[in-house]
Amino acid sequence: MHDDRLIIAGREFRSRLWVGTGKYKDFAQTKLAIETSGADVVTVAVRRVNITDRSKENLLDYVDPKRYTILPNTAGCYTVEDAVRYARLARAAGVSDLVKLEVLGDEKTLFPDTAGLIEAAKILIKEGFIVLPYTNDDPIVARKLVDIGCPAVMPLAAPIGSGLGIRNPYNLKIIMETVKVPIIVDAGVGTASDAALAMEYGADAVLMNTAIAGAEDPIAMAEAMKYAVHAGRLAYKAGRIPRKLYATASSPIEGML
């Protein structure tokens, strides 16, 4: 599928699987999992550097920004002010205007605070950011985010890290039908079939972290996810047969004794 590129805000992406870099055992495992997944977009958080531990290693020593698109996120931010501050810091620490914008509603569900999300997105877009918003599976909010200038939307499949899979496929389908920008299903994927389903529904990409990093064998799961996203995309483009209640013979009747 070399001609099947994903394009967001003029940037071209090879892979439709995007991955997070949290929860791995160490940087070596992070690097191997990302390589195995085939992802070319990796999301990272912005935090204080450890100024007391001199032995510190930097994530970017393992995840080469020349090879991967680094997508900073505002993970852990619960207010518009914090999300905007972290986005600005991410831009100052990095090389691009890309940000995966999260404004979280509460600690238990980590559901997006969509009112805060829209407000923060407006501020950042005005400042020249390319805002990829982590949002709920709400088609109206998705439309509003596009209307204010988000070049893609990232609706969740289920709560972050829950592994529940796609909880509301019908809403996701409505978002895919009504929103004319790439849809990246973000968060809640548990296993390969969840990722394949998201792609079969018509998602343009899937972003995940815990499903890979939290698996018993993260490297094997990274490989499974690569094939799942690829298979799901191929099936979507191939066009599935309609569901029918009764059988349709696949062998001809003619020539039978």
């Binding site: 935090r47 207010t79 100052a92 890290g161």
Partner: protein, 88 residues
């Protein structure tokens, strides 16, 4: 005459020589300039300013960089800025 000043770096009070620039501070901490963002008294600095900005007594410096994270709170492991809600 005092030769040292106290500034707060990532929440820690530390003594440094008077006249230290942000660039000097990063070199002392062995941090690569192209890998960090620096906030001085809540103002985010451009990299080009690092060597021009002198620090003074009582300044609050925050130095941040990218760490592993996907979404949500797990990526707060290395500590967040104080005004951001902290998850235990």
């Amino acid at each position: 005459m005092r030769e040292a000043m106290q500034i707060q770096v990532n929440g820690e009070q530390r003594d440094y020589r008077i006249g230290l620039t942000v660039g000097d501070l990063l070199r002392e901490l062995d941090l690569k300039q192209e890998r960090v963002a620096v906030e001085l008294n809540l103002e985010i600095l451009e990299r080009a300013e690092f060597d021009r900005r002198n620090l003074k007594e009582g300044d609050r410096v925050e130095i941040l960089s990218f760490i592993g994270g996907g979404a949500g709170p797990e990526s707060r492991a290395n500590g967040g800025l104080s005004p951001c809600t902290t998850i235990a």
